[in-house]
Amino acid sequence: MTTFTTKTTSDVSGSEEVVGKVEVARVTFKDLSTITLDDIDKGLRLKGYIPDRDIVLAVYLALKLGKPLLVEGEPGCGKTELAKALAELLETDLIRLQCYEGIEASQAIYDWNYPKQLIAIRLLEKSAGVDDIEKEIYSEKYMIKGPLLKAVLHEGPKPPVLLIDEIDRADEEFEAFLLEFLSEFQVTVPELGTFKAKVKPIVVLTSNRTRDIGDGLRRRCIYLYITYPDRRREVEIVLSKVKSARRELVEKAVDVVNNIRSQKDILKKPGISETIEWVRALTELGYNEITYQALRDTITLLVKVKNDLDRLDLRKLLGVEA
């Protein structure tokens, strides 16, 4: 079990509590300006995210320079998890905008609840004047807030983490709109006025690279490309996620996964999330070691394309002669 100790220097204030026999350090950041590289590294680990140095540096620079962090990489390598862990680490809210093809600005910012407004008009038209009705129906009560407006209206004191997930799925028009939003962090509602963020949100954008993101957006961000972790780190990640798994089993599993990734003609290479799910399945099924039978029973958790399944020689993956 990992034990974390808290720094007593002025940048971090913390208290320690004992949960059973496990010593867990709770790290609290009073102020983002005092955060250090070490704090981010330890903090993310504490939240179950095992970062490498590039990730720590990228998060640190994004926080310090106040820039959005654009994370690209293979699916299942922990891009979204990074944003979640960051929100947990900073003990702040995570506001998520899931992008999809055809998403419009109104869905991301706000829309009026028209049926509710019409009912209000009908109820009030006999008892109230025009101005009163107008004031009533164009109030926040009748507003359906989108994630971007929520991020702008966040009260603080800590900035929320705004996760704009899978930006590559959104259209170019939406990307252009985001460009404007990310530079100003303000939203204008014609009936109510302009809302400007009291605290600038910490923005994390993720992309699976199904579409090329424009240069304009890239330029405004700190760019991080996450690839598959090295063996040691992946073992560490899996062990932190599947607590009941034995180290030997995890090490062997990671070797098999790396074996699959190293095959050139594999179309969908398994990510870390697949490794975690696979080890979890092996543990649940009661396998203490990875035999040919175990691999055959569970290979579909790792390889999800039929052509890839046909190409793979399971015995070779295990290093066993036929």
Partner: protein, 437 residues
């Protein structure tokens, strides 16, 4: 003339160092130096004092790590502590110029970000510098390799005059290959596998241009109506929007809003000829494949053909490193370099894919074919009836005197909607001209 910064760092006190770094206007020599660097490298478009002030204001005053005189000199090449702040700015600006020269776009704003980043991290190690510069200056993973190699050359040694790569020029001389072998390469029914020694000339810049053209092309064509609706003077009454509009008149519907369905962008089925006769254009074919990755998945199909047809959509759209994909996977299809049977390829296309009116079929081929012309005509006829648009892209330029003289092209012209030169793929402007936009 670059002014020397000759004061040893360890003899400077902190405040003087900052003054030296951020207030060059007080030191005439240094101001000249920064001006000279700005003019040389393009960081500043003009060497006005306004630019200098702007730069000064944007740089964060924290150099403690970089300027640490006691930094252990264990780093190869001396470590960053051996640079004064002004030298570091100069070096960083030169490095940014070097990156730009090698095709990595980095704006002056990003250079300032990079400077701020190393000021913040500044533990003096080259590895930290590498990561900091990569995070702030390089915004595409495809550029990582170029960046790393330039970084190693630039920062590990003191070479500031890294030579620019010369533009690749390839001259194809008629008769370079004798007539018999050229004929055999074109028409041999045997499949010739990709030769390791042959490297098609590809260009990331061209791939990006083709990507822009293909995106524009999808918009230009807009073949079928989609689910989304837009306001229109004609069309059906939209009750939801009418209700929304009625709020302005307190719930009284004064004007009925009409909407019509918006046309969807066309989907592209790109059929690429990779036979021996197209050998000189394999680079273009690969760039088209790279460009297709910039389109949303599901909006395109990528197929390569010679005597056989191979659907490579799943490979192109997979999220791996495309260089690796192109280099190792495509060649395994054994279709590169053999003869051409366009008719049979189209016939196969009809069997293996489902195209409808929302699809535009784009065929990139030189039209040299010795397949069955009857099959070709029948296949084109069927494809014409089921697809929304059909276009033939030739690697030759009609404006340069090219005439579609081969039997295959003459037949194709009877069915395709447009015959485009490949230059139209590399330039959206040319493409629009062909569609009179």
């Amino acid at each position: 003339m670059r002014a020397p910064v000759d004061l040893p760092v360890h003899k400077l006190n902190s405040s003087f160092r900052l003054e030296k770094a951020y207030m060059p206007s007080t030191l005439d020599v240094n101001q000249n130096s920064v001006k000279a660097v700005g003019a040389e490298t393009g960081l500043m478009s003009s060497s006005t004092s306004k630019d200098l002030d702007n730069l000064k204001q944007r740089l964060q005053p924290s150099f403690s790590g970089l300027m640490n005189p006691n930094y252990p000199p264990s780093q190869p090449g001396g470590g960053l502590s051996y640079y004064s702040s002004l030298e570091l700015i100069e070096k960083l600006v030169s490095f940014a110029k070097l990156l730009r020269d090698h095709g990595i776009k980095c704006s002056p704003a990003e250079v300032v970000e990079a400077f701020n980043a190393i000021s913040l991290l500044g533990d003096g190690s080259l590895e930290t510098l590498r990561v900091a510069l990569r995070l702030t200056l390089v915004k595409r993973v495809e550029d990582y390799r170029t960046f790393d190699s330039l970084f190693n050359t630039f920062w590990s040694s003191e070479r500031m005059d890294f030579p620019r790569p010369k533009t690749s020029v390839r001259v194809v001389v008629e008769g370079e290959i004798d007539a018999v072998s050229r004929f055999l390469s074109m028409y041999s029914p045997l499949e010739v596998v990709w030769r390791e020694s042959f490297k098609p000339i590809t260009s990331l810049h061209r791939a990006r241009s083709i990507g822009s053209s293909l995106r524009a092309y999808r918009r230009i064509l807009s073949l079928q109506y989609g689910r989304r609706r837009v306001r229109s003077t004609k069309g059906f009454i939209d009750f939801r929007r009418s209700m929304k509009a009625s709020l302005r008149t307190f719930g009284e519907i004064v004007k009925l809003v009409k909407t019509r369905r918006k046309k969807n962008r066309a989907k592209l089925a790109v059929l690429l000829d990779v036979s021996g006769s197209m050998r000189d254009h394999w680079g273009l074919v690969i760039d088209v494949l790279r460009a297709l990755r910039s389109l949303p998945s599901g909006s395109y199909k990528a197929l390569i053909f010679s005597t056989r047809l191979a659907d490579v959509t799943s490979i192109v759209s997979s999220t791996g490193d495309l260089e690796g994909v192109v280099g190792s996977v495509l060649k395994e299809f054994s279709v590169w370099g053999s003869g051409t049977r366009i008719g049979e390829a189209l016939q196969r296309l009809l069997k293996v894919t489902r195209l409808d009116k929302s699809w535009c079929l784009m065929i990139l081929s030189d039209g040299w074919d010795l397949g069955d012309l009857r099959i070709l005509e029948e296949s084109l006829k069927t494809l014409k009836s089921i697809t929304g648009h059909m276009v033939w892209v030739t690697p030759y330029n009609p404006e340069g005197g090219f005439k579609p003289a081969t039997a295959c092209l003459r037949i194709a012209l009877g069915y395709v909607d447009k015959l485009l030169p490949s230059t139209s793929l590399e330039n959206p402007g040319i493409l629009k001209r062909y569609y009179r936009l």
